[in-house]
């Protein structure tokens, strides 16, 4: 048996999951640290919920093992695991009031009624619903249900809290408020959160680290900034935010600097990093829309390329421009802050210049 990583609180090792012939999880290994806010991010069907349900014990891995706090979990049924879950539908028991819902899991602890009452009161304070103890489930709003589902799980002081898209059913404003509260709550209670979401913005806002999943595999595990600024492959780059892609070929290597010939951008240089490449190797180059600068006149310094403005969209705080450059099929997206007052947005096609910093370019691994 392989030893688990000592720093890892949850260790997922070579886990496969088949539903019949369909492979939902394909050899996933990852470690999640103690007290970490860890997100599983991906579109529907990527296996993120299956992975979460395997942590909870509702699904068992076909192969591989999951360790929580050093203990192998494959033989442990869900009701004995040191984890609790907040369900997507919240699963508030409709025949019980708020107080009994929150106290539900305390049965095993054989506490006095007084003690239970106090613990529930504490939880009601924590979720800022102190007056709601006697309400029935059907008298609660979506946001309140969500908090009660949280309280019901947290009262058991689990080592890990699993959250299955808990904010998906809330409207935008409430969702943003709950994001902040959830993050603050996680810091207060200090336990490990594993959070499943398909909303990349939500994942970026909340998480310490994010695993981007697709087709049952993990594409990249990184911090929010790491994922956004330095995506390792095209899928991650395209999934998180917007990205412009360019085909590029190595022109020459100068020490740590790589000079590439990029279709649409011309000669560009970027750092080589750990790669071993030679002239003629093909890469894919990527750059975020907001890292491109657009101007009507040719900039005096730095790398630049001329293109034709095809389309512009005014969004208030910023504007989106779509610029056609030679050698690219799709127009290049540019996002610019409207720091100066925009008098009128010029929709007519005219020639513009794009410029960028060398370190804004991302070299993708899988071209």
């Amino acid at each position: 048996m392989t030893m688990t990583n000592k720093d890892a609180f949850i260790s997922i090792q070579n886990v496969d999951k088949y539903f019949g012939k369909f492979q939902a999880i394909d050899k996933i290994s990852m470690d999640i640290g103690h007290g970490e806010f860890f997100s599983l991010l991906g579109s529907s069907g990527c296996g993120k919920t299956t992975l979460l349900r395997m942590l909870a014990g509702f699904e068992t891995p076909t192969n591989g093992e999951i360790y929580i706090d050093g203990q192998p979990m494959s033989e442990v049924p869900p009701h004995y695991r040191p984890v609790n879950m907040v369900f997507q539908s919240y699963a508030i028991f409709p025949h019980l009031n708020v107080r009994d819902n929150i106290a539900y899991g305390l049965r095993k602890q054989r506490l006095s009624k007084m003690k239970k009452y106090e613990m529930v009161d504490e939880m009601l304070d924590l979720i800022k619903l102190p007056e709601y103890g006697d309400r029935k489930a059907h008298e609660l709003s979506g946001g309140q249900r969500q908090r009660i589902a949280l309280a019901r799980a947290l009262i058991l002081k689990p080592k890990v809290l699993l959250l299955d898209e808990p904010l998906g059913a809330l409207d935008k404003q409430l969702r943003e408020q709950m994001q902040l509260e959830l993050r603050a709550l996680q810091r207060t209670v200090g336990i490990t959160f594993v959070f499943v979401t398909h909303d990349q913005e939500e994942a970026l806002t909340l998480s310490d680290r994010i695993a981007v999943m697709s087709g049952g595999t993990v594409l990249q595990t990184d911090t929010p900034t790491g994922l956004y600024e330095m995506p390792q492959n095209r899928e991650v780059a395209a999934f998180i935010g917007t990205m412009n892609f360019f085909e590029a070929m190595v022109d020459r290597v100068e020490g740590d600097t790589l000079v590439l010939d990029a279709k649409g951008l011309g000669k560009v240089s970027t750092t080589k990093g750990q790669r071993t490449t030679t002239k003629g190797d093909r890469f894919e180059l990527a750059i975020r829309p907001e890292k491109l600068k657009i101007s009507d006149t040719k900039p005096t310094t730095g790398a630049c390329v001329e293109g034709t403005l095809e389309n512009a969209a005014y969004l208030g705080e910023r504007s989106h421009y779509y610029v056609r450059v030679d050698g690219q099929d799709t127009p290049v997206a540019v996002s610019a802050q409207n720091q100066k007052r925009v008098i009128s947005s010029d929709q007519n096609a005219h020639s513009v210049w794009l410029t960028w910093d060398d370190d804004a370019l991302v070299l993708l691994n899988d071209a």
């Binding site: 909870a56 509702f58 009701h79 879950m85 699963a91 028991f93 025949h95 049965r107 019901r152 058991l156």
Partner: protein
């Protein structure tokens, strides 16, 4: 009925709408009663009126082949004074209580299985479970006669195996035989409402209960059972009410010890030709069932509060 031309695309009545349709549009109550009215009419004619007739008749007395229509409580006094009536009433309630309990106990696992463990062709399973209902009630009762009879399936089998020397007599012509037959005959009525209430339970509630530390038994007691209670209650009523007054099964399988109040009522309206007495007994039976029903409802409500 609905004149769509009077409704504009936004759903509000256009200017040309008549006063009546505008009234119906504005008042959800009147629309509700409008929808109910055919059923209400039928209920009034088919249930309320006959029950009123029965109630009035129960205060009459027999006089030869006609009725003495002077108001009297003589029938009720007689029903409570002469031990035969209350004895039969007690036995009816006893038999149908056991039939109800055993039907619910037998049907619940079946409904549970289809609701939680069958994922394909659920409807086919339900239809298969109601299959006994495709034969006539009488036929099913007779079938049990063959099974339970003196030389029936069970007795022949046991004697053939050498377990018993003489046929077991309690099998047929006894309250037990009536209970067994009623249980089988009414099973489908119990399965359907319980299946519906079990099927409605959100599966994530069960997972949540498990997640919060309950094993299968506790989860059943604390979540599944209380949430399927409406189904159990309606199944119990659906069986208890008609079986208490049943007279076919006791007549064919009950023997002298298995006679029930339904048989007596039938006799009053038939051979004995004392309709007022039959009416009084029917009313008494109804009151008994109603009060037992109320007590039952009260107890389940109490139990539910206790569980939570």
């Amino acid at each position: 009925m609905t004149d769509t031309s009077t409704l504009s695309e936004t759903g509000t009545p256009s200017k040309g709408a008549s006063h009546l349709s505008r009234y119906f549009y504005k008042s959800p109550l009147s629309r509700g009663y409008g929808l109910l009215s055919p059923t209400l009419l039928l209920m009034t004619l088919g249930i309320v009126v006959p029950v009123c007739i029965l109630l009035v008749m129960s205060f009459w007395t027999r006089q030869g082949f006609g009725f003495d229509t002077t108001f009297t409580t003589a029938n009720y006094v007689k029903a409570f004074d002469q031990p035969i009536y209350m004895a039969l009433m007690k036995r009816s309630l006893y038999v149908s209580a056991w039939a109800t309990i055993s039907t619910v106990l037998l049907a619940y696992p079946m409904a549970y299985y289809v609701a939680f463990h069958v994922h394909k062709n659920k409807m086919m399973w339900i239809v298969l479970m109601t299959l006994p209902f495709w034969t006539s009630y009488l036929l099913r009762v007779f079938a049990w006669k063959v099974v339970l009879g003196y030389e029936g399936v069970i007795n022949s089998f046991l004697m053939g195996m050498g377990v018993i020397d003489a046929p077991l007599e309690f099998l047929l012509y006894s309250p037990t035989a009536v209970i067994v037959t009623l249980t089988h005959a009414w099973a489908a009525f119990a399965i359907l409402p319980m299946y519906v209430s079990l099927e409605k339970i959100d599966k994530s509630l069960l997972e949540a209960a498990t997640d919060l530390g309950d094993g299968p038994i506790w989860r059943f007691i604390r979540i599944t059972l209380p949430l399927s209670m409406p189904g159990i209650i309606s199944a119990s009523f659906l069986i208890f009410i008609p079986t208490t007054g049943d007279y076919i099964t006791p007549a064919l399988l009950g023997g002298p010890d298995g006679m029930m109040i339904g048989n007596l009522i039938q006799l009053q309206f038939g051979a004995v030709n004392n309709w007022p007495m039959g009416a009084s007994l029917s009313i008494i039976l109804m009151l008994f069932i109603a009060s037992i029903g109320l007590v039952f409802l009260f107890l389940t409500k109490l139990a539910r509060e206790r569980i939570s």
